[in-house]
Symmetry: C2
Subunit: 434 residues, 2 copies
């Protein structure tokens, strides 16, 4: 594991031109840095949009790879050979049964629970971050993670042959720990919550010169989430939806989907139209929802306590920007409790055959809550972002779902069990009817 020494160089095809402070506008070279030296604001990648416009068309995108890299001119990498493991282009499923259940007319699920390679949207941001890390000369990559990011960083680093050291809270779900270890990285299980892990990693980034995808590489990394906007627009036939509902952890994904839509309008790939942005948090960690509810433009950090561990960030880096997006698009930010989260997981599975993790359960439960409160119009074309897979958070469902009926391998044993299950069904119906 060695320090990065390369100076970044840009190919002529590169369309990104600087890092720019989101607060004061100061510009920086395209290095591994993420905080403004003047005002401590976060840095964001700035592009030459007329260069992008010259390079892309609907046809050029459709002729590109079946992955996020079909949108390469919109991403902050200079190479023509990015790390492409087939990430992105996940299905956009028309969710008619869930729509009917909720009373909506046109509902879509953008399903990153089947993203390649590690079944969450994090594969998008990590593919971008590690491609950029390689360009910047890093040979060791790292991250502070609530689980999904660790899976993704370890997997894509393995594919790319980069050394990898990841940091996770020590109380993570078993599936997320195993789903990291299997790729052979160094795994540090930190006795503390995500915010403590994150603080430790900031110190390590300063002393070891590693590429932390969500710290010193954060400006590049976070741009990967824009592809969740691009894909939905393309999959809807080059149109924007009316309303999106997405989970909020740091708030970054939410703001980048917004940025993705804006950019597609800017370069003329889709027509401009108002899109409402609504965000979902777990009640046990809802600092962004609280700020939104109270009309604040600052976030008061909280200590997380929820089963939705992958979105349990008590001090969210992009929280204020998420509040801003929800406000200016006439959207909402809501929270739901752990019981509602489990019900959300089941509702999506039973109506659409999609098994999501607790973060997805949160998003579906908030969707339901918003519809019931009249905050989503039944006529709006609504897209819900499912960002992770249910197989990773199996613990959360223990004691919350039925058991199989155990039978002998004989027809009469089966018939008795079937009769019993039908009687149970009838009893449940009677209880419903009473």
């Amino acid at each position: 594991m060695t320090q990065a020494t390369h100076t970044p160089t840009l190919s002529t095809a590169a369309t990104f031109r600087a890092l720019k402070c989101k607060e004061c506008g100061e510009e920086y070279e395209l290095k591994a840095t993420h905080v403004c030296e003047f005002c401590f604001g976060p840095l964001e990648v700035a592009y030459d949009y007329s260069a992008i416009q010259r390079q892309v068309s609907r046809a050029s995108i459709q002729a590109g790879p079946n992955s996020i890299w079909r949108y390469r001119p919109f991403l902050p990498v200079a190479t023509d050979n990015p790390i492409d493991v087939g990430t992105g282009m996940t299905p956009l499923v028309q969710a008619n049964r869930l729509a009917r259940r909720l009373g909506l007319k046109k509902l879509y699920i953008k399903n990153d629970a089947v993203n390649m390679p590690t079944l969450s949207f994090k594969d998008r941001v990590v593919s971008v971050a590690l491609t950029r890390a390689r360009e910047l000369g890093f040979t060791t990559v790292s991250c502070a993670s609530t689980g999904n990011l660790a899976n993704s960083t370890a997997a894509i680093a393995a594919h790319a042959g980069l050394d990898c050291c990841v940091f996770i809270p020590s109380d993570l779900e078993a599936g997320k720990v195993l789903g990291t270890l299997i790729y052979g990285p160094t795994v540090m299980a930190v006795q503390g919550n995500y915010d403590q892990v994150n603080r430790l990693c900031s110190e390590v980034a300063n002393t070891h010169g590693w590429g932390f995808v969500n710290i010193n590489l954060r400006p590049y990394y976070s741009e990967g989430s824009k592809t969740l906007g691009y894909e939905v627009a393309e999959q809807l036939g080059w149109e924007l939806p009316d309303h999106v509902v997405a989970p909020l952890a740091s708030g970054s994904l939410f703001t980048k989907i917004y940025k993705g839509f804006q950019e597609f309008v800017k370069v003329g790939l889709v027509d401009e139209k108002p899109v409402r942005f609504s965000g979902a948090q777990a009640e046990g960690c809802s600092p962004i929802a609280q700020a939104f509810r109270e009309g604040r433009d600052f976030i008061s950090p909280v200590k997380p306590n929820t089963i939705a561990k992958s979105i349990a960030i008590g001090n969210p880096a992009d929280g204020v920007y998420a509040v801003d997006v929800a406000k200016k698009t006439n959207g909402n930010i809501e929270s739901v409790n752990d019981t509602e989260i489990i019900e959300g997981i089941k509702l999506l599975a039973e109506t659409e055959g999609i098994f999501t993790e607790t973060a997805g359960g949160t998003t579906i439960a908030v969707l339901k809550k918003l519809v019931e409160a009249g905050k989503i119009n039944p006529d709006e074309t609504t897209v819900v972002y499912i960002t992770g897979n249910g197989l990773k958070t199996q613990e959360a469902l223990q004691g919350c779902i039925n058991e199989p009926l155990t039978i002998e391998p004989k027809l009469d044993s089966f018939e008795r069990a079937l009769e019993r299950s039908r009687t149970l069904d009838r009893l449940e119906w009677q209880q419903v009817l009473v």
Copy 2:
């Protein structure tokens, strides 16, 4: 749950014309039936290939949906509105690091571990079977499963609003049981192995009139696996590979990939060339490998005993056809033990960032064995089929991988742990060098 009463009707666009016995050639109506009444041979779907040729071109396929349904004229359904949940079009990953490790030049992984919706190739066959079940008027669908098929049938039935009852052996991995229950079907856990489950289901199919995807709907169902052939040919730029390596359970997948390639040649979508077919079994359940080794044209059933439960079929329905394909293409069928299977899972994860289940570990371990035995030429373009996800068989890895390093959220605790891990790495290297 009611019986199917519809008589099948065909639209003018339908390209399938009969069920035909693979043994004696007797033809049958396109109903829910799977065994020849004369010779007890298995029935297979027969097509009008000139009709297919009139309907398809490379361009028409590329303009189709980003799912298996882009190949609809090759599939045994009459409808223009199949159950499309985005199944298929999974990534074909160029596996350079694994190739280098093994000494191959051009190796690809076809990764159905991220298939939609339930992370295995079974989503392909079930999408086809349930679409056909609906056409035939079934309202209750069912299956005998080693786990993945139960996940897929329950999920896609939920999406389509069909009643569902699945049968599994009672000793399945927890992830596969939960990953079925979550969709809300009736689940029968049978105290016996897969072959006993399968026999029970044949009885139930006869008495209840349900659509068992892999029994009375089997001729339609199994055709879904052809899409694994079509996609690879399309993703290789409309060319066939030189060699494929795939797992063998019933043997159906293997023979259907072969059929898929043949059909693409027949209608002129790709040029004809020899493709070698090699199959993988777990030593603890390797009746097909044994028959191949001993040059037999019949299968002697075995009692399964392996961690690779998803491919543990002791009495494989299409075993003889799989042996035939391997023989006539100059391929091989090999088996590996449980230790090699675990090593196969790790090897794929560490080199390519793909986490597969025990069946995939079996396939990778057999790939390695075949290369080492000189049975795969380094110059051959080789495609390995990974058919399921590692998150479903986590138990198999218990005690076989490293633990995380637990640290306090402090820089000095991290530094000590890092130093310790590096010392361990060095010690391991010293052991290697001694």
